[in-house]
């Protein structure tokens, strides 16, 4: 394989394609881009080279089947994350860690090149779902500029990553004097009332916050909001913190508001996969007031007589 110059890398050609485009040419580009990287790690990462030799894997051989690539276990990033750099320490810009709901966090070290690719991939995938135009974002989390930003913790990085898609932002998780967070039903009501009903918005938040704070408060308040047609909900992060709640008082199907239909199965929680595009889970948006799927939405679910159609999963290229 001829190593192309940096500006001609296969991955850059791959990025020119639409994220869900799937044909022989894209497959070929994907495999070439992948091999480019595998060879790079083999040559620049002693750990990885040893690993490949143990697994009798030769990255120079053309990849016939992706299943033949020996996978690296996530535990490796939990234990050796900081040592697994394939670029020089000087080139490492920052380290990312998973939220570590299961104990030890996974760590990856990120250089400028990887960070750029991550951002690019994220933009391409998100735009495929919400369109190229920026939109108002209703963020179901704490304002990072508020006095209570410490409640945000590691969620800050995730939230801020999405702000580039927003032209107007509202934060609706507030905190009282005791730093206890609550969902501000009144201010979201005001925000929604002032929206252009013709322009779709994005509701964004962590799955467990949407479930434990937002849905409960909305239900209790008895208020309903009408989001503009074609609005979307993006929720990210794991379901793990809700596991206990789920087992004790799983919301009954009848009571579950259609406005935010999601399933655990839809929350992509792959902590080891740093690429943000892997953790986006757009879900079927619905009109909160009518509790019917929004007709114009590209996610609109079909049969209205079935209140909970098998939730439509996001289609993510693996």
């Amino acid at each position: 394989m001829e190593t192309p110059k940096l500006d001609q890398l296969y991955i850059d050609q791959l990025f020119e394609k639409s994220p869900y485009q799937h044909d022989a040419q894209v497959d070929e580009l994907f495999l070439n881009a992948l091999q480019e990287e595998l060879v790079f790690h083999y040559e620049n990462n002693a750990f990885y080279k040893q690993f490949c030799e143990r697994k009798q894997f030769n990255p120079y051989q053309k990849i016939q089947d992706i299943a033949s690539i020996p996978p690296v276990s996530v535990s490796v990033f939990k234990e050796l994350g900081f040592e697994l750099n394939s670029v020089s320490k000087e080139d490492v810009k920052f380290a990312l860690q998973s939220s570590a709901t299961s104990g030890i966090p996974s760590t990856i070290v990120v250089d400028k090149i990887t960070a750029k690719r991550q951002a690019k991939a994220m933009v391409k995938v998100i735009q495929d779902f919400i369109g190229r135009e920026s939109k108002p974002f209703l963020i179901m989390d704490v304002d990072p500029n508020s006095a209570h930003k410490k409640l945000l913790g590691a969620r800050y990085a995730a939230v801020s990553g999405y702000l580039k898609f927003a032209n107007k932002i509202g934060y609706f998780l507030k905190a009282d004097q005791n730093d206890r967070s609550y969902f501000d039903v009144e201010s979201i009501n005001e925000f929604v009332t002032n929206l252009d009903p013709e322009k779709p918005v994005v509701v964004f938040g962590f799955t467990y916050i949407l479930f434990s704070e937002v849905l409960k408060s909305v239900e209790q308040s008895g208020l309903t909001f009408k989001l503009p047609a074609g609005s979307k909900v993006i929720h990210i992060g794991g379901w793990k913190k809700l596991e206990s709640e789920r087992s004790t008082k799983r919301p009954s199907t009848k009571k579950r508001p259609d406005a935010l239909v999601w399933k655990k199965s839809m929350s992509l929680t792959s902590t080891a996969l740093p690429n943000k595009w892997a953790s986006i889970t757009p879900i079927a948006p619905a009109d909160a007031s009518t509790r019917q799927p929004i007709p114009n939405s590209s996610f609109a679910t079909s049969s209205p007589n079935k209140p909970y159609p098998p939730a439509k999963k996001a289609c993510l290229n693996s």
């Binding site: 020996p70 535990s75 697994l84 199965s265």
Partner: protein, 506 residues
């Protein structure tokens, strides 16, 4: 399990990552016309639920007092597994437990009258039958000769002190006698049930009546061991006959769920001596129950163990062959869930056989020993835990292991104490000196299996190790062999009251 493949990562080798998430590939196409494979994430793979004494490390990090439970006691909570009398079906569990205790106490007088030689002989007779049931070490331990030495060691050098008043060793007018405390209540641990037998035997020999609460994972092991006493008789040299059936009247075996705190409290309040085995959660439960203010409490709690090998033990291939076999046995007994089971091995370099060569020899030994001691359970979660740690050592060290994941040796040259993975996973660390391993010792480390032929070096190591908290430094191959003292405790001492007559000072 989901594996993600992407060309994006450039600064770290994350292009093909196997996660611990479980998912399914969906057949139907995307309703929004997006191409590509569709999949649904079902959740994360459950953590392996091997619970062993070695959990002490993680437990220390996540110590939390348990939340208040809203458990409602059920009438059928109490299950008598071995009890010589009958329980009323109309009684509550509490009433039945009280009845069991009063029955046991009513046989205390009989037990007090039994000569120590008769008790030793009877247990010795039972031990020959346990031998057939593959509990070889227990049988050896319970041979009359060994029991005698245990009792003599515990009873100030003379087993007869438990039968009668005898003079102090340096007096003719000052007498000493050991009396039983009364009722010993045992809380047994699921992972190492058999260790509870050692405590029971000592409690019988000190003439205490015994109530044992087995763990939910008993599977009838304990009952079958005790059933051996049924119909058993032993005649002493002085023609005294003791019957196993009578002894069984002084022992009751019960089960109730841990949540049935009311029953736990009754058992605790009635106990003159409480003995609890197991993980932090179990022993903490027992220690928080109310108890007699002058009652004895013996906790054999969660502990962790490792092994060290000095370079002089690696002198020849023949020596190493023997040593690896013993090492394999230590790892295999109780499927590595015992508090004395080794999870880490620190091995000195500079011997005739290198640490790496030792690992190779050890993998042969593990293969051989496995034929005699196959692993009892290997759940998908355990396999995943083993797979995942092997993945790490494919990067940072060397992996030796069976294809079936039934045993694993993970070699590196870092002087670290790794958390137990269980399922017969041994971390082998190459070190400059066995003394390098001392830094890992605190009072959560129970046993260090030691291979160090030079007794002076071994003593020097053991002085340092015990100063830092280790209880015992047995030979490799005998780490799990129960001995007295255990966890720093001479159990018999806790099971008796010492009484005097005459004297003092004459």
């Amino acid at each position: 399990m989901l594996e993600f493949i992407t060309p994006i990562p450039h600064s770290y080798p994350g292009n093909a990552v196997l996660t611990d998430d479980i998912g399914v590939i969906l057949d139907e196409p995307c309703p929004y016309q997006r191409a590509g494979t569709r999949f649904q994430i079902l959740g994360r793979l459950k953590k392996a639920e091997v619970r062993g004494c070695g959990d002490v490390l993680s437990n220390k990090l996540t110590f939390q007092t348990s939340t208040t439970s809203h458990y409602v006691p059920q009438k059928e909570d109490l299950k008598p597994l071995l009890f010589s009398s009958y329980l009323s079906a109309t009684n509550t569990s509490e009433q039945n437990l009280q009845f069991i205790i009063s029955e046991l106490k009513s046989h205390a007088e009989w037990l007090k009258k039994q000569p120590i030689d008769a008790l030793i002989g009877l247990i010795g007779a039972a031990a020959t039958k346990w031998g057939a049931a593959n509990e070889l070490f227990l049988s050896t331990w319970c041979q009359p000769k060994h029991l005698e030495s245990v009792v003599e060691f515990g009873l100030r050098g003379n087993k007869q002190y438990i039968d009668q008043f005898l003079p102090f060793y340096n007096s003719e007018k000052h007498f000493l006698k050991a009396n039983p405390r009364g009722l010993t209540c045992h809380w047994l641990a699921g992972n190492v049930q058999i260790l509870g037998m050692f405590a029971l035997v000592q409690s019988i020999l000190t003439k205490n009546v015994n109530l044992l609460k087995v763990s939910a994972r008993d599977n009838g092991v304990f009952v079958s061991l005790l059933n051996v006493f049924k119909g058993l008789e032993y005649t002493t040299e002085t023609n005294y006959i003791i019957k196993g059936d009578d002894l069984l009247k002084t022992i009751a075996l019960i089960y109730f769920p841990r949540e049935a705190a009311n029953l736990g409290k009754i058992m605790s309040m009635e106990a003159d001596c409480r003995i609890a085995w197991g993980g932090r959660e179990s022993v903490e439960t027992v220690s928080t129950y109310p108890a007699k203010f002058d009652g004895e409490t013996v906790i054999f709690g969660p502990k962790l163990s490792f092994s060290v090998i000095n370079r002089e033990a690696l002198s020849s291939e023949q020596e190493v062959k023997k040593l690896t076999r013993k090492m394999a046995v230590d790892v295999f007994v109780f499927d590595q869930t015992g508090c004395a089971s080794p999870h880490n091995l620190y091995i000195e370099k500079g011997g005739n056989i290198s640490p790496k060569a030792f690992c190779e020899a050890l993998s042969l030994a593990m293969n051989n020993v496995e034929a005699q001691m196959p692993i009892t359970t290997l759940t998908p979660e355990q396999v995943s835990a083993v797979h995942s740690i092997r993945g790490v050592y494919d990067f940072k060290g060397m992996v030796y292991g069976s294809d079936s994941m039934s045993w694993t040796i993970l070699y590196d040259d870092r002087n670290e104490l790794k958390k137990p993975v269980y399922s017969r996973v041994l971390f082998v660390h190459e070190v400059e000196s066995i003394n390098d391993a001392l830094i890992h010792i605190d009072d959560s480390i129970q046993t260090i299996g030691l291979a160090c032929p030079d007794i002076e070096k071994a003593k020097a190591f053991a002085i340092e190790a015990t100063n830092r908290g280790v209880s015992r430094c047995p030979l490799i191959g005998r780490m799990l062999n129960f001995e007295m003292p255990w966890d720093g405790i001479v159990l018999i001492d806790r099971l008796v009251k010492w009484n005097t007559l005459g004297g003092p000072l004459c």
